[in-house]
Symmetry: C2
Subunit: 718 residues, 2 copies
């Protein structure tokens, strides 16, 4: 009897260990999830309920709306992040009706307003097309030819598929570069409407200060609804449209989740770089990210200084500062993570072991013996060229007027080509979007700031060493004093240009090269002078990609042999599953973060000054302890955000966080600062992502918003 | 049998509760500690071992060296904070021998160097002298007369006592203002020498950034030694002097302390304000502290801007910025604490209950019925005058040249009086110190900054409402445009003054009023014009203090009756005992701080840039895991700092943290940010103070400093 108890205890212990201590890394493609024993980790439903090509499954409830969202009712109600809907809410706002500030509520379906520019893609099916794609690769192709041929083939497959499936959208995703390619077919909905959006003081509480941070107290959620034509087919907005009925929608777990609970997530993570070598990590850590942090920091400080004197200017710069500092904070987090985890050194050690493994077998040595060295050589070139390429790249990206001039100039060149031959931005399916981006940039254009940025980046270009001259910049300086020459050029160019007028700019986008020449605009002339340099840069980069793709494909082969395990491809905006547990962490010596925050923290952080202002009604509800059914039983307050060790990256915004029964417990919206390292490696110590707790979503919607009918639509009230 | 077990469990539970959950508030005067049942809390030694007027006790091991220190060897070795010794270390440093940067080590006693300006006071005895002090108070005295009479009497008792006890120092401390007064007699040692001081990168690691912060990683300790004349009597520095043999020195607990261990502390806490009413708290919260935070913040930003262009100027401003930002950060912490704990509202509720208690009894009502209202009235006046008084006060305190002029002018007035009649700064025993302060201020004087500060504060004065005019400022403006007039005055005054020359300044300190008049210095003329205004301010403040002292004495009487308990007086730089436990806390929603930090955190925080630079040798020792006997058994690293809920305030710096056996486990040096609230109230939630762990002191001293002989002297090696 005693032995039996011991035996059972052992079983319990082992079960516990297997449940809680195994690493939970991975953004798994749906095609790979059958390799996971999710049931042993805590999944209570059948894998087929997650993906089943022959029937209904959860993936039909997940939509790509830029980032991710999910259907939560039979009538096409979508729950996603506040920051995902932000652009549409802003576009629908006017001075009189400021939906960002006050939030938006449609009291019935007739009051729902279009979420401009927003579309929803639902993954319908996928198919491996590696063979077809790689069939175009010929033995003696140069790396550039190879890259171009593959890209063209991918475009062809997409075009063919979309023609065969009217109303659907297709995409070929590169899973392992140079190795595996998958064709996805999506249902593509184009009539999305806003339903309920909380005010900025809830949906964006903490703003940039709390961005990338835990503990978090942001109610980052909003409701939209998808509409289709009366016959059920996807259609543009029309008042006659009817709610879309998704094949599947998520059940709400109104009790939320608790510490150490098993959770999983479906979503569209953007990009990761986990299969890259130490050379890449060292380049990022030592050269590229420090350059970008410095350059973005400089631009931010200029924009802040310009904004100090004039609130109007400050508002113009707001979203650009937000974007730059988001990236900057992300990179700073990555740099910290790389240092703390000593990631580059660890990868070097792994590579050393791999080298030894390769060296042990003659055949292996012949095939793989020089891969790492060849990757290293390419990164030596990249390093050597880095400053030149970065400066060159940011001339076009950071200076609005050069961006305008260059885009217009390039459009004229590209539009003469066949659609499939064009740069993606100028293909028919993408051209409207490209014009919209110009328009948005011009809306926030401010000449004095643009001049300062142009001067700074041109000065940096003028100071590049002799072997890295940019002819167009040398033409400006003409061997004289760089500062004088650049100042003179800028004064004249900004005075003369007409591309800063919206009408002129958009008209120019469809003009022929000849007509553009006749405009005689200084920024078009500059674009023309820069064009061959950018073309050369593009060819260099394509050649590098071609060479690296081939090497990485080989590297993965040999790593599989060495580690005797399969790998999953880096994130690439395709549907993935990740799983893990609600779990806190130690961000620093003597500090522990709990995985659940509460309304107490909202009150605590509130200063009354943006981004830490809170509506009075929230205070009143808090004082009255009017927590409804959404109080956490131990914390005695409404949970606001939850933290977990799942493997996420940008693009997972809005992803549903699901419990073991596949019910919605939260909406993913961010990572903890140290987890920016996810792009290079997942770490049990630091990889933590953040969701708004479903209990906060429901509490705010019911108690603050007074929107009982949405809770009824979601079946939270029976 | 079963019942017995239940009973024992109950006993254990009750013991646990009484040990760990009782509030541990209080800075107890040594005369009161017999009221505490410290044994039940965890004290393992007899109370007589802490204080025993008839024999040896721990208090003889505690010295006041500005803040607090303690003897740790029979040969007068003193362990205190790095920041307490800082001034002396800086004074002993030269460009060639930078002891702040590199640390200081005397390899034997002959190498020990004088700790300039530093003295040590050891509490020898104390006696209640309330009756004698209050004997001078006559019935019909005005409040001003009363305050002056008491102050004079205190000075008389000190003088008489010091005459009777040659070589000793005496002090009358006001325990409960207007109520109880205690005479302390101190042994006064004047020859202190530096023995071992770690480099700034250890002793000040984290600098201003980490100041007032937990988790902390500062090795804030240093060793000094006290010397006396060969006959054992206190003496000024002489090479013939010999080490002082204290009556008692502390035993070192080289194993340190652990979470939840009982600890106590002896030291000289500065000032607390716990007996003040809600009117005082509201005034601090709403008016005084916000004014000071704003004014100090303005000065800091000016000094930083001036320093940006010139490293020499930056160095001049360094210690002043440090001082101002220390106070500013402290006030910001207090403001946060007041808000979080809703302290003013809570005190108002207590006062409401007290009022009801008073109202219930006719006699009580007659005696105490209007106390709170009268205190309230005084604070109404204080509020009404606040801006005027604050601006007036900071004219003299913030502008160096006005401070010089005013001190010189006031010295001439005061030196004509009898010693006991003088303002304390000009009494014979204090005059050298006053001159030294002028000298130190002049050393870091920078005219352009001083002009900007003068302009700003005079502009604020010029903008005061009509009823609060400062005649000296009106004289400058003369009804013209304030900015023009003030600019003109400043230009002329700074050009003409000679008080910015050290020789002139110090000479002027002993000149007669007539001689000063002949100097015709613009800042002496300004001082003369300001003098009557400051005299009037002083009288107003003395009258207020007299009135408030009387009211507070009554308030404490009735509070004792109401709450049926004794109170202990506010901290007043006299010897106090406090006790508590090593304990972490929750600083914010979802965040927990552990009470012990380790060397891991030092490594983690190190960026290589001051104040987060760390000597290479520390890195090497860490990598080699050369932790000696000082590794924490669970944390597997050397503990660096410890946190506890003891009740401390400024002045407790350097205080010994002792375990239940009275052995040294740490040296107190700071409070956590939220614990700045201690000045108003102790809170189990937020009151946490910080010590450097004795294990870190010993590890750094042995492994980094290589100073084995000090560990032997302290008996850490047997």
């Amino acid at each position: 009897m005693k032995n039996m108890i011991g035996f059972f205890l052992l079983i319990i212990l082992l079960t516990f260990l297997s449940h809680s201590l195994l690493p939970e890394e991975g953004m798994w493609p749906i095609s790979e999830i059958h390799k996971l024993d999710l049931q042993s980790k805590g999944l209570e439903i059948d894998l087929k309920e997650i993906y089943n090509p022959e029937g209904l499954s959860l993936i039909y409830a997940v939509v790509n709306v830029g980032a991710t969202g999910s259907f939560v009712s039979p009538d096409g109600l979508i729950l996603t992040n506040h920051h995902v809907a932000y652009g549409s809410v802003q576009a629908a706002s006017t001075k009189e009706k400021d939906y960002i500030k006050h939030g938006f509520l449609a009291r019935d379906r007739s009051e729902e307003i279009p979420a401009k520019g927003r579309t929803a893609r639902i993954t319908e099916s996928y198919r491996d097309v590696s063979k077809e794609v790689l069939s175009v690769v010929k033995k003696r192709m140069s790396f550039v030819e190879r890259t171009k041929a593959i890209e063209k083939k991918m475009k062809e497959i997409v075009k063919k598929t979309e023609q065969k499936n009217p109303g659907k959208r297709a995409e070929v995703a590169e899973m392992f570069p140079g190795k595996t390619y998958v064709l996805f077919i999506f249902t593509f909905l184009r009539d999305l409407r806003l339903v309920y959006v909380p005010p900025r003081s809830i949906g964006e509480f903490g703003g940039d200060v709390d961005n990338w941070m835990w503990p978090r107290h942001t109610g980052d959620f909003s409701f939209m609804r998808a509409y289709v034509a009366p016959d059920g087919s996807p259609a543009e907005y029309s008042p006659k449209n009817v709610p879309f009925h998704p094949k599947k929608y998520l059940k709400i777990a109104s009790g939320g989740a608790n510490e150490e609970d098993f959770v999983f997530m479906l979503g569209y993570p953007g990009r990761t770089y986990r299969h890259r070598t130490s050379h890449y990590l060292a380049f990022e850590e030592e050269i590229r990210m420090p350059f970008v942090v410095d350059w973005y920091g400089w631009q931010i400080s200029v924009m802040q200084k310009m904004g100090e004197k004039d609130r109007g200017v400050a508002l113009k710069h707001l979203s650009r500062i937000k974007g730059l500092s988001n990236t900057m904070k992300n990179y700073q987090g990555k740099l910290t993570g790389l240092k703390r985890l000593q990631l580059t050194a660890k990868r070097q050690e792994e590579e050393k072991a791999l080298r030894e493994f390769i060296g042990k077998d003659k055949e292996r040595k012949a095939k793989y013996g020089d891969i790492l060295e060849r990757v290293g050589k390419i990164y030596e070139q990249i390093r050597e060229q880095a400053e030149y390429e970065l400066v060159l790249d940011y001339i076009r990206r950071s200076v609005n007027m050069i961006y305008f001039g260059y885009t217009v100039y390039e459009a004229a060149v590209e539009l003469q080509k066949d659609d499939l031959e064009r740069e993606s931005a100028y293909m028919e399916r993408n051209f409207p979007q490209t014009k919209r981006r110009l328009e948005l940039t011009l809306r926030n254009y401010y000449e004095p700031t643009d001049k300062m940025i142009m001067k700074e980046i041109l000065m940096r270009a003028a100071n590049l060493p002799q072997k890295h001259r940019i002819p167009a910049v040398d033409d400006i300086v003409k061997g004289g004093k760089p500062e004088e020459a650049i100042d003179g050029f800028i004064e004249k160019a900004y005075a003369e240009t007409e591309l800063d007028e919206l009408g002129v700019l958009i008209d120019s986008m469809t003009k022929s090269s000849q007509k553009l020449k006749e405009m005689n605009d200084p920024f078009l002339k500059l674009a023309k002078a820069l064009y061959p340099t950018y073309q050369k840069l593009k060819e260099t980069q394509e050649a590098r990609k071609g060479a690296l793709d081939e090497l990485y494909a080989l590297l993965i082969d040999v790593k599989k042999q060495f580690l005797k395990k399969d790998f999953i491809p880096d994130a690439n905006r395709t549907l993935r599953l990740t799983f893990g547990r609600i779990r806190g962490y130690d961000p620093a010596d003597a500090v522990y973060y709990n995985p659940i925050t509460t309304l107490d923290g909202v009150i605590e952080k509130t200063t009354g000054v943006e981004p830490f202002d809170t509506p009075q009604k929230i205070f009143d509800l808090y004082k009255a302890k009017d927590f409804g059914r959404f109080m956490h039983p131990e914390l005695k307050s409404v949970p606001v955000c939850i933290l977990y060790n799942m493997d996420t990256t940008g693009g997972n915004s809005g992803s549903p966080v699901l419990n073991g029964r596949g019910e919605l417990v939260g909406i993913n919206f961010d990572r903890a600062w140290e987890a920016t390292i996810n792009d290079y490696a997942w770490s049990e110590k630091y990889s933590r992502s953040i969701a708004v707790d479903i209990r906060y979503v429901l509490w705010v919607t019911q108690k603050y918003g007074g929107v009982d009918f949405l809770l009824k639509e979601m079946n939270v009230f029976k």
